[in-house]
Amino acid sequence: MNRSRTLSTAAALGLLAMAWPRAASAQASLALDTDWRRTERPTRSEKMASPQSIAFEARFGPYSPQIDTEPGLRGKPYEEVFGGGAQFYFGFELDWQAARIPWLGVIGPGLGWGYTHRSATAKVTATGQDSGESTSITIFPMYVSAVLRADELMRRTGVPFVPYGKLGFGFASWNTGTSAGASVSNGVAGNGLSYGLEWALGGMLCLNELDERSAASLDQTAGVNHVYLYGEWWRMALDGFGKDPPVMRVGTSTFTLGIAFDM
């Protein structure tokens, strides 16, 4: 019951955010389409800027699937096979900055896609010795989420920092295999789809201040309004919302870094 309520709330928030009635994507339109005209009057540089409607992120970071947390497991298969440590993750995210919330920032839907892979030497079943084959798991973490970037602080004070948050639905396609091909165990194919909630909190450091002239040039030539470095704590709770039989818990809780663009 609680779970359903949580889901409903999350969904309602996401839809509300995405259906926000005021399209405020274009900075240039601020003065024309708002009741806060006096205080939101664009700066001279904003007047010169190209319209801003999307954000793009290139993401990198460690990724430790939480497979071993699956209820009912008698061991830690992921750790036994692949050992400790994390695998490398990279991904991309594309946000549409659909609406601007006065005094807060922009909000809109985002789509994320990523890739991570890990392999290790497979063991001979009878002896436990290394075989000539490798065994691997490949995960494609993806999500659809509402993204709120609180950039009003930067716009109004000039502090080049933009905190943001994301909340949405995460899912991941995963597959396992060996160097000889896809894994099959007792007739069960070693692949599947896991899903659950996804959320993140992070902060972006705007690099435009470092070289405003270059930033303006980049905007004029490529339509890039801002360039950011960012760090983000990211949680993919891919537990299937408690589904039974369970999904493989290929989600993670990690910290990612990357570069982002407003365009």
Binding site: P77, W96, T135, G177
Partner: protein, 450 residues
């Protein structure tokens, strides 16, 4: 006048072949595979080149076809008549021909013979470029005008397969063996064939091209400094046998065994009389496995290496290896042996039986289909493998089997939410143009008119 007349006659000769109409009776290869080249298999076959020849101004002369290497000029009588060394050989004619409609057939074997190669198996060189001179010859002492001779240089005689790869090793897989090797340095390699045998494969029944295979036995033992008087190896090819004269009385280390020949007769190290014996005779196929720990105890040599392949007892490449006749180092595999996988490099053999030992060797092949000698032979026994997913399932994991969302109510709910989110996204996207349009119209509307 006589000189002028002779000169006129010579320049009036005319032989021509339409290159596009040259065919072969049995061989058909595409342009990238040397359509006019002669491979080992071609040499063994009864294939013939068919040259459609047109002649003019016969003047009582006969058609002859002479063969030389690329630097030969068989239009010159001296080169045609030189016996030692032979520069040019006549491989067709003299034939009395009519003016038109002439088809000259020259067997592949005739061209090979023209190079002085008496057996297809004897060729040791790679890629003999040949030149064929189609000429009208009257007086043997006559130098012919090259402009009136049709010269064919489109054939390369290549009877030997490429050198094998080295360092072949296998890794154990589930019903599979993972084969790794270092590619050969040979420049004419098109690909590799990975052969395997569980001990049931037959010995090659065809003659072996190139050197040092069935007939000749394996390479002899390496250098030896022993004082032995017991010489057992009489291998004639390869290695450095017989060993250099021994020093006084000091026992030495036996030479390493040479590569086994088809009959498994490897060279051996022979033990010194008092010192440490030759360590191995491992190169011998099935015979040379003795450690020459004492004086005269040497591995069996290659003296019996003249047997034919059909009575071959097979070779075991080492502990855990099956005795194989089909996959033997230094041997060219039988063309009819089908247990191979054609690859561009190291690869995995699949479809094997767990628990069965296999001998694995690799050969290289070139563009005309010549297969080289077998590499070193490695062995492996496929075994069941515990991969991550098998371990996960064995330890109680229950996920897997593809997408599991649909049967679950929660899963359906989750996908419904995702769909709703996408729908919301679509709605927002649709609203955007209207908003912009509205904004635009407001901007154009004078403030007082609102």
């Amino acid at each position: 006048l006589a000189v002028l007349g002779w000169s006129s006659e010579a320049s009036a000769q005319n032989v021509n072949v339409v290159q596009a109409q040259i065919t072969r009776t049995l061989v058909s290869r595409d342009q990238a595979s040397g359509p006019y080249d002669i491979s080992y298999a071609d040499c063994l076959s009864k294939d013939e080149f068919q040259f459609p020849v047109t002649v003019a101004n016969l003047l009582g002369r006969n058609l002859e076809v002479w063969l030389g290497n690329t630097s030969a000029d068989c239009t010159q009588s001296l080169q045609r008549q030189q016996i030692n060394p032979v520069v040019c050989r006549r491989i067709f004619g003299p034939a009395t021909v009519a003016q038109t409609g002439l088809q000259v057939s020259i067997g592949d074997r005739a061209i090979v013979d023209g190079l002085g190669i008496t057996n297809c198996e004897d060729a040791a060189q790679l890629g003999n470029n040949v030149s064929l001179f189609f000429m009208l010859v009257g007086d043997p002492a006559e130098n012919l005008d090259p402009s009136n001779v049709w010269k064919w240089t489109g054939t390369i005689v290549d009877l030997v397969g490429p050198l094998p790869p080295t360092g072949v090793s296998v890794g154990v897989g589930d019903a599979a063996l993972l084969v790794d090797f270092t590619k050969s340095d040979a420049t004419d390699i098109i690909g590799y064939r990975i052969y395997w045998d569980d001990g049931t494969g037959p010995a090659p029944t065809t003659p072996q091209p190139g050197q040092g295979s069935i007939v000749n036995g394996g390479a002899g033992g390496g250098t030896s400094t022993t004082t032995t008087t017991d010489t057992t190896t009489t291998t004639t090819l390869g290695g450095s046998w017989p060993p250099p004269p021994p020093p006084a009385s000091d026992g030495g280390t036996g030479g390493a065994g040479g590569a086994g020949g088809a009959k498994g007769a490897g060279g051996t190290g022979t033990g010194g009389t008092t010192g440490a014996g030759g360590k191995t005779a491992a190169g011998g196929a099935d015979a040379g496995t003795k450690d020459g720990g004492t004086s005269s105890d040497a591995g069996a040599g290659g003296s019996s290496a003249t047997s034919t392949a059909t009575d071959d007892a097979g070779v075991s490449a080492g502990p855990g290896c099956p005795v194989s006749k089909a996959v033997v180092q230094g041997r060219v595999p039988d063309p009819g042996y089908a247990n191979f996988s054609q690859q561009a490099g190291p690869s995995t053999i699949t479809g094997l039986t767990n628990g069965t030992a296999y001998a694995v060797g690799v050969v290289a092949y070139d563009k005309v289909g010549n297969v080289g000698q077998m590499s070193n032979v490695a062995c492996g026994t496929p075994q069941p493998i515990s991969d991550f997913f098998a371990i996960y399932r064995a330890e109680g994991g229950r996920a897997g089997g593809g997408c599991e969302v649909a049967p679950s109510r929660d899963g359906a709910l989750a996908f419904t939410l995702a769909g709703a989110a996408l729908l919301g996204l679509g709605l927002v996207v649709r609203r955007a143009p209207r908003s912009r349009a509205r904004t635009s119209s407001r901007a154009k509307t004078p403030r007082g008119s609102r």
